[in-house]
Amino acid sequence: MADTKTTDAFVVFDRVQKSYDGETLVVKDLNLSMPKGEFLTMLGPSGSGKTTCLMMLAGFETATHGEILLDGRPINNIPPHKRGIGMVFQNYALFPHMSVAENLSFPLEVRGMDKTVREAKITRALDMVQMGQFANRRPAQLSGGQQQRIALARALVFEPELVLMDEPLGALDKQLREHMQFEITRLAHDLGITVVYVTHDQTEALTMSDRVAVFNDGRIQQLAPPASLYEAPQNSFVAQFIGENNTMEGIVTEISGDKCVVKLDDGELIDAKPVNVSKVGERTRVSIRPERVEMNKSRLQPGAHTLKATVREFIYMGDIFRTRLSVAGNDNFIIKTRNAPDAVRLEPGAEIEIGWLPQDCRALDA
């Protein structure tokens, strides 16, 4: 998934590899380039190499091979304190023996700034995160959300152009997390800073980022804006990892342009869009989002394949209904329907017919 190298790239990973023990690669051939001002999220399960990439960018790990460029300069040999990169850590890493103001003052002091300049900058940074009145508190006297704001202010107070965030919201509860997601994106946008954000929470990645890099097994599986990541996953890992997904395995029997027919393992034929398959006879895993499965035949294309399904379970979730079906040997086929006035509540045991638009059903690698 090599990204094309653009001339205005601000952060560039060029064929970067990383190994800790000389036997296995944690990061395998990473190529990535980010323009200035972009909010890029590295998303992936733990052990996928995303945090290692962030640590290499910050300077706490060195790349075993390849080059990392920041604003056109190779930074492999620049120590972390000279990189001028702001960083927000998962557990905030606020210095416990310093007050909030002293924490914010630290990066300015080591840069040799005057007291008056420092004070102005600290006030501005604290106001930015609405924590102005907490300047004299100790970190231990603040709640998790407040500490996170201070950590954010500290990473921004010396006005870095690039800010790295390592699962910064991981320790917060759901409501606060959603609020902080909004705050962080707003700040990043207002200040025009470039952000590399690491998370394993896909909702966070989808709602905050300009682009998301999905990591698995040391590689970027897909690098795309959130919408295309969700709607057009390039391989089955991405399809599985982002959002809920129904999969069925089978063999491609017909392929023409952007349409193919897949014969499922139990003999059923379905229409799909070929993504990762190229020839007839190839094994494939087709993927369809639960909300794109259609029970209303009139909305399907004429001649589209439909499948018989048996309702197994009906779950009422308020805004939506979640129904578990048996389809083509898969007992875990989920469909979601909006709780509209005319929505049908299916009873377990009912026999229905389902189908979908071929472009919503993607034939991916097996």
């Binding site: 023996h97 630290f106 990066p107 080591v110």
Partner: protein, 414 residues
């Protein structure tokens, strides 16, 4: 509100109900700690109390010389001993000689005025044949009975409760005029020793900190598998007898020892210029630093273990050099460990006995060696107790200063 006391559903005060409800649990908990409490009382509190009381009481004289004590009580300080005084002395000496307690009496006065032991015993032998006038008879037996200092010492000893031993422990002696004054410079033993003890302990503490800090840091940062292996090396000295460790240092440090031989072999030292590494302060410092090092490393390690690496990383990402990060972020967070290790090592060093006794020689012994000397050789237990009490007071004072500066609750032992 008319009724501010919270009550239970049936109207009893809530507090009383709570006390009753938890009484059984509290009683059971108390029973569990009772054995330890008794143990501590018997083996720690009582001996220390005894020691403290011994440092201010000694009735060796007052119990055995009642007539002289009575004369001192009847005549104010400064009265020249008259015929009555000498008569009382002769009566007491005769009785003491018969009761075979004259030795203890003599020893007690000898603490204050050295060389008076034989004065008592020889006069005691002659006393039963003495006749009035007793003053002349006693003075004829030994002229020293006319010395003011002897009578001052006896008056002083006639009270069972006395500050004599603290005077002695602070290098104050009875002068010929019979008053306490600072001893001549060359006889000031104890204050010099106290000073040396604190300076040496401070040096040992500082050395332990300098040597232990990097080791503790390494242990805290290395992967568990390797660090537990290294931890065994740190703890190894604990599993070896203190005597073995000290004597090993003697083997290493003595003039014909391994270290000197090596330096001579390598041509760094002349054969006749061998270093005196033992039987002086150098030896004491080297051996004590080695023995006390684990007491510094362990608290430091336990504190450092709790400092996540992200603080260091955060400081570096904020633009601090590694030195600034160490100085302003890392060290301040290790203060509880430095404090705990420092206090622990210092207090242990202040009371250290075996090692300085074996490798210290004349200039490397500490106050504890002097205390041991008075316990075992001179048998002046009261003076030993006074010295020990002063040591205890000094340590408590230091503890208080530490609490004021750093805060005891800021100390972390493990």
């Amino acid at each position: 509100m008319s009724d501010t006391i919270l009550r239970t559903a049936d109207g009893k005060p809530l507090k009383a109900a709570l006390m009753r409800a938890s009484a059984v649990a509290r009683r059971r908990a108390f029973m569990l700690v009772l054995p330890l409490l008794a143990f501590v009382l018997i083996t720690f509190v009582v001996p220390i109390g005894q020691m403290l009381s011994r440092s201010v009481t000694n009735d060796a004289f007052s119990a055995n010389m009642p007539s002289v004590v009575a004369w001192f009580a009847a005549n104010p300080e400064g009265t020249e001993p008259d015929e009555a005084a000498y008569a009382a002395l002769v009566v007491d000496l005769v009785n003491a000689a018969n009761a075979r307690t004259i030795g203890t009496v003599a020893t007690r006065i000898n603490y204050d005025v050295s060389g008076t032991r034989s004065l008592f015993t020889s006069t005691g032998r002659k006393a039963k044949n003495m006749e009035a006038p007793f003053k002349d008879a006693v003075l004829a037996a030994d002229e020293e009975w006319g010395d003011k200092v002897v009578w001052a010492a006896m008056r002083n000893a006639s009270a069972a409760v006395t500050t004599t031993f603290y005077q002695a422990a602070t290098d104050r002696k009875l002068t010929d005029e019979g008053v306490y004054a600072k001893a001549p410079e060359d006889l000031r033993v104890y204050l010099t020793l106290f000073w040396r003890t604190f300076v040496l302990s401070g040096a040992v503490t500082l050395l332990c900190l300098i040597l232990g800090f990097p080791v503790a840091h390494l242990l805290a940062r290395l992967p568990m598998r390797i660090s537990s292996l290294l931890m065994i090396l740190v703890l190894l000295p604990f599993w070896t007898s203190l005597l073995v460790r000290t004597t090993s240092w003697m083997v290493l440090l003595q003039e014909q020892g391994i270290l000197n031989n090596m330096l001579v072999y390598l041509g760094i030292l002349e054969d006749n210029g061998r270093l005196a590494l033992m039987y002086n302060q150098t030896g004491t410092i080297i051996a004590m630093t080695h023995i006390l090092l684990p007491f510094m490393i362990l608290p430091l390690y336990s504190v450092m273990k709790t400092i996540p690496i992200t603080y260091t990383r955060a400081a570096r990402s904020l633009g601090a050099t590694s030195w600034t990060t160490f100085r302003r972020i890392y060290v301040p967070q290790t203060i509880p460990g430095i404090g705990a290790g420092g206090i622990l090592v210092f207090i242990l060093a202040v009371g250290y006995y075996i090692t300085p006794a074996l490798v210290g020689g004349a200039t490397g012994t500490l106050i504890s060696n002097q205390i041991a000397f008075h316990m075992q050789d001179s048998l002046n237990w009261s003076l030993a107790a006074a010295l020990a009490a002063m040591l205890l007071a000094a340590v408590l004072a230091l503890y208080w200063v530490y609490d004021r500066l750093v805060g005891i609750d800021n100390m972390k032992l493990g």
